[in-house]
């Protein structure tokens, strides 16, 4: 096994929450600089997998290894959204600075090198323009940029994002993806981004980890997004249809033994505009 090539190794991980098996024997590896989509319907275990990688949830079996060498940055994380009041007295640059200092006890004097690091990070995510505005007043896309800067200011080798595109308009989605692709390439950061709709990510992904009913299949999009592979993963017949460059994943007809939970169908079956 090429340990040096696997920056993040998820090995046979199972997670139980409240007696329910949420993840079953999930395995995949991520290489440095890889841009990976974690795709699955709501309730398929995406957030649980991200929380396990972050160490916020303990797997009941298996192991997760980060082979980051001497990099001290750990794993960067962008939560889905901040529950922020518009009046929260926190400027965008304050939130980015907390990425450096948020775990430190006591006060420290303003430092030129820290301000320079914050300014550089704000510029890297194209947020200089609104750096002095309150975070609660920013748009969803702007908040995402600030959260990405908060996560990356310690230079972690891996960045996890929980449904970052879920609440954004189409233009903001495109901008965030361009930004993440650029950061992954320029700073050699491995990006793992969860989404219930794979279509916005189709051109960007080097690798896809597809989750269904707690099980995972991993490979290139061409290897995974196929009728045979997804049918085997779901355990019943699935059609993968490509229409005008969009991928539709459809449960052709629901077999009798299938759980009658429509929410667990692939969510991206939804209407074509």
């Amino acid at each position: 096994m090429l340990q040096s090539h696997n920056l993040l190794a998820v090995d046979n991980v199972s997670v139980s929450l409240g007696g329910r098996l949420v993840l079953r024997n999930v395995s995949f590896n991520l290489a440095p600089g890889e841009f990976c989509g974690l795709i699955g319907a709501n309730g398929s275990g995406k957030t649980t997998l991200l929380r396990s990688i972050l160490g916020l949830t303990s797997p009941s079996a298996g192991r997760i290894t980060l082979n980051a060498g001497n990099s001290a940055g750990g794993i960067g994380y962008v939560p889905q959204k901040l529950e922020l009041d518009a009046q929260m007295p926190l400027r965008a640059r304050d939130l980015v600075e907390l990425g450096l200092t948020g775990n430190r006890f006591g006060f420290s004097l303003p430092s030129k090198s820290r301000k320079a690091a914050v300014d550089e990070m704000l510029a890297a995510v194209d947020a200089t323009e609104f750096a002095d505005q309150r975070v609660g007043r920013l748009s969803g896309g702007q908040q995402q940029r600030i959260l990405i800067a908060h996560a990356l200011i310690r230079r972690p080798p891996v960045l996890l994002l929980d449904e970052p595109l879920a609440n954004l308009d189409l233009r903001a989605v495109a901008e965030i993806l361009v930004l993440l692709r650029r950061l992954a390439r320029e700073q050699n950061i491995t990006v793992l981004i969860s989404a219930h709709d794979m279509n916005p990510l189709m051109g960007a992904m080097d690798r896809i980890v597809y989750l269904a009913h707690g099980r995972a299949a991993s490979g290139t999009p061409a290897e995974i997004v196929r009728t045979e592979v997804l049918s085997a993963l779901y355990g019943y017949h699935i059609d993968v249809i490509r229409v005008h460059g969009r991928v539709l994943v459809i449960a052709a007809c629901a077999p009798d033994e299938m759980p009658a939970v429509l929410d667990e169908h692939p969510a991206h079956v939804t209407a074509i505009p």
């Binding site: 160490g55 939560p79 007295p89 200092t101 775990n103």
Partner: protein, 278 residues
């Protein structure tokens, strides 16, 4: 005349200025975090419940500050136990405990008044009587204030991050639960100081009012804290001054300090809204 004769040489006034000053600083600074964390109702409940401690102290003859402190710290522990629950469930539990606490206060005050044949205790415990505080309480009062300031100074940044998003704090190694518990401890210290100053029932005004006004204006966390402290001091010292002067408005009678303090807080809150709109 703004400063009536004897204001700065009068011992009860000097004592009141010191006690109220420390209460204003600690309550206002703590209040900023309490509001950011969405725990205003917990703060209010803590303040009201501490009245049981004040009443118990009156009944048993110990110093009221120890009574407020003991019950406030106990109540903070109880709040920490229900913290992980859902917000709605938490508010219900807090409300039920708050009711039980005030019921105990009613019983203790009744027993106290019956046994000691004095009737002023209820007013003192609930609404404060600042000019009656003995100067001997100043060292203990300042010690509590310094302890609260030290804790706030130590946990300032981890508390800010944990209040924004507990997961972001947890992955940075911040002990989120401990930080939350320390915030509740500081909250109970703030409530103790305020209960001594303007009474247990009104101490929530000093906790939430100045901080709420500051949050309408400030853009940065440190500025919000500084502004809240300034508002708290203006309210408390201004209230003491007006109460002292009121002796000349209605000769022979001093208006309650707590009325003036809460009135100034209210006016500051209204003004902060105008400032924001402008």
């Amino acid at each position: 005349m703004i400063f009536a004769p004897g204001f700065f040489t009068n011992t009860p006034v000097q004592t009141a200025l010191i006690i109220a000053g420390s209460a204003a600083i600690i309550s206002a600074a703590t209040g900023v975090f309490t509001i950011i964390r969405g725990q205003s109702f917990a703060g209010h409940a803590l303040a009201d419940i501490s009245s049981a401690g004040g009443a118990a102290a009156f009944l048993s003859g110990i110093s009221p500050i120890l009574g407020f402190l003991g019950v406030a710290v106990l109540a903070a522990g109880a709040l920490d136990i229900i913290t992980p629950r859902r917000a709605a469930e938490r508010d219900l539990a807090t409300g039920v405990v708050l009711g039980a606490g005030l019921g105990i206060t009613a019983l203790l005050l009744y027993l106290g008044v019956t046994l000691h044949s004095t009737s002023g205790a209820a007013i003192t415990v609930m609404f404060g009587s600042m000019f009656a505080i003995p100067a001997s309480l100043i060292p203990l009062n300042l010690a509590i204030g310094v302890a609260a300031l030290v804790i706030i100074g130590l946990i300032y940044r981890p508390l800010l991050l944990a209040s924004l998003n507990p997961d972001l704090a947890a992955i940075r190694g911040v002990p989120v639960r401990l930080i939350g518990l320390l915030h509740l401890l500081v909250l109970s210290l703030a409530v103790t100081l305020s209960a001594m100053t303007i009474g247990a029932i009104l101490s929530t005004a000093l906790l939430i009012g100045p901080a709420a006004a500051a949050l309408r204006i400030a853009r940065r966390p440190a500025a919000a804290i500084a502004l809240a402290v300034a508002f708290g001091l203006i309210s408390c010292w201004g209230g003491i001054l007006l109460a002292y002067d009121s002796y000349n408005w209605t000769p022979g009678h001093t208006w309650p300090v707590s009325f003036f303090i809460t009135a100034i807080i209210f006016v500051l809150y209204l003004l902060s809204g105008i400032r924001r709109a402008g």
